[in-house]
Amino acid sequence: MSDAPLVTVDGTPLKVSLGRAKRKAKIRALLLVAPLFLFILLTFFIPIMSMLLRSVDNENVAYTLPNTADLLAEWDVDSGDLPDEAVFAALAADFKAATVSKEDDINATKVGTRFNYEKSGFRSMFRKTNKIFEKGGVEPPYKEAFIKINKRWGDADYWRVMQREMRGKTDSYYLAAVDSGYTDDGERAMNKPGKRIYLKLYGRTLGISLLITCICLLLAYPVAYLLSILKSRTSNLLMILVLLPFWTSLLVRTSAWIALLQKEGVINSVLVSIGVIDDANRLLMIHNATGTIIAMVHVLLPFMILPLYSVMKTIPPSYMRAARSLGATPFTAFTKVYMPNTVPGIGAGAILVFILAIGYYITPALVGGQSGTLISNEIARHLETSLNWGLAAALGALLLVAVFALYLVYDKIVGIDNMKLG
């Protein structure tokens, strides 16, 4: 071998030339991916991230009440006294400024609504006060004047909340999302048992999703096994029975289950007409957790069957035959030889079903009733009805963390690039 480096026809060293070609290929690959990447970033990623920021955002309070925010910071909450006259005067100035401001963001009653999430009573307190200021305001001494408008202005507990929530970023939405909050003494603590809902709801969401995953696995395993051992003509035919539900609209399937499960529905009518149950004792299978579980198992079952099937298809039948010929009973051969080989399929299907289940919204909303609604439904309620968007964002962020963790597990087991459909 000579020591001279290999060169291409035009004299550049081969290494450089190859490197250049490689870089070119890399750029070409990146350019192909870039449009979609930017599209997803713009239409999907950024919107979600900016929504999640609402879970800590609290800038508007101090922006609307700047003078009060400055002076209130120096007030000693534990002194047991109300803030002094200067704070009340600052508050009066802020209210006055807010009523004449043309900016949408400066609105004292909005701040009252924000504080009302922390402690009931703020809303009417701010509303009434704002109304007085719209009509001209109050004369000093301000402390007395405010307390005359609403006696809660004379309650130090309300001032404590205001002092705390003047901060630009708040943790109170996340506290609320885990059934906690600040006590009247300003300590973080769990809510009273009668006011805890979200942890229970997360628990229920995980529990129901786990149950659905297990049922799906139990039902999918034999079916996938059968499909994998049948002749391809028969198995292709049976596969249609799996794929048709997969391709059928979620709402179609949910309506079908409503028709089947409701009190006057098909199943109950059949059971009554053949005399299994009598007319007065029709089964309650819908508007509760049972309805959610049945309908969701049906919706998600294909997501379990398909990955299991594709793994089982690759297991040579000779494994089982070998085990049998070595003296294993059919049962031992199946559990000790066959099943371990299907673990990747079980993992892939189970995690996919679980991820899809914990984020489900439509089916629980339609058939879930009270005991069958999941955390997504509560997030929707805060977005649409209670309008507590900070709390909705915090609840959503926690859900997203759970999903993301499972996504990483999925990647470890299956590899995201190995995901297959149909």
């Binding site: 690959a29 034999p222 049948l230 059928t248 409701q262 439509i362 977005l383 964002a393 859900l399 996504y407």
Partner: protein, 283 residues
């Protein structure tokens, strides 16, 4: 797999029992879809089989819910919206998704797992979170309550399906074919249209069908970022199911089942063609 001749009694019982269990599960999968078809021809506004239906009395059946569907402007508007939105979002998703899949399947693609992870995320993130994020964002840029907004949102939601299906067809893709084509004097454009396109086309079409179905079936996002002018079939069904349950919904459902049968058949035919092309199955 037939029952082996040497099977004992226990094994014979198990053989049939196992098939029976499987039959039950298949029944569970398909029965709900089949059952809505006769129910949609119910002559009375109930969700159950009437006496007359069971005795096959023609009076128990009627087309009134189909008539209602075809004469009701609300449903017709929903049908039109669904097709417009699904059509355009499918085009966007298929175009962007196919390009990205071509890039991702190149061995030179850097940080592949990460990029793939982000591109697939619309499929994994719970819909309510996507809907909330898009609701605020699309409102702020003035795209809420417009067809364009819903189309973009649905396109984002369906690209993962295109990426996945097209990548899958490229897994067995022999890169030397491109080189072979180049050696034989084809320029890159010719290579793309004469070599790559025919090979990935089945994947692209089934990806497009997945994208179409995703948009056609989507209700959470359109409810949040759309307004009444963007009301789609699933939206109309959703509010119908929450409010007054009329069998018109079952008529719509039956029509949608026919549509999905059509899609399923197309995808299956494509899959087989693809396997044949790649020599994976004897065909």
């Amino acid at each position: 797999m037939a029952l082996p001749a040497y099977a004992g009694t226990l094994e014979t019982i198990w053989y049939y029992l196992f098939r029976f269990i499987c039959a039950l599960i298949f029944f569970f999968l398909i029965a709900p879809i089949v059952v809505i078809i006769p129910l949609s021809f119910n002559a009375v506004p109930f969700f159950t089989f009437t006496e007359k239906m069971l005795t096959l009395d023609p009076e128990g059946y009627s087309l009134r819910w189909y008539k209602d569907f075809f004469s009701n402007l609300n449903w017709q508007g929903a049908v039109k919206n669904s097709f417009i939105i699904a059509f355009f979002s499918t085009i966007i998703a298929t175009f962007l998704g196919t390009l990205a899949a071509l890039g991702l399947s190149r061995s030179e693609m850097p940080a592949k797992t990460w990029v793939m992870g982000i591109l697939i995320s619309p499929m994994i993130v719970p819909l309510i979170i996507s809907a909330a994020g898009m609701f605020f964002f699309y409102t702020s840029i003035g795209l809420a309550s417009t067809h364009v907004g819903v189309i973009l949102a649905h396109a984002a939601l369906s690209t993962p399906f295109v990426v996945i299906t097209v990548t899958a067809t490229l897994v067995g893709f022999d890169q030397s074919l491109i080189r072979a084509s180049a050696t034989l004097g084809a320029n890159p454009t010719t290579t793309f249209f004469k070599v790559i396109v025919p090979l990935i086309l089945p994947g692209v079409i089934s990806g497009a069908l997945f994208a179409f179905v995703t948009s056609f079936d989507e209700v959470v996002i359109v409810k949040f970022i759309g307004s009444y002018q963007q009301r789609t079939i699933p939206w109309a069904m959703f509010s119908g199911l929450r409010e007054s349950i009329s069998p018109t919904i079952l008529a719509v459902a039956t029509l949608l089942v026919l549509l999905s049968i059509g899609m399923l058949t197309t995808v299956e035919l494509l899959r087989r063609r693809n396997e044949k092309l790649r020599g994976l199955s004897p065909g």
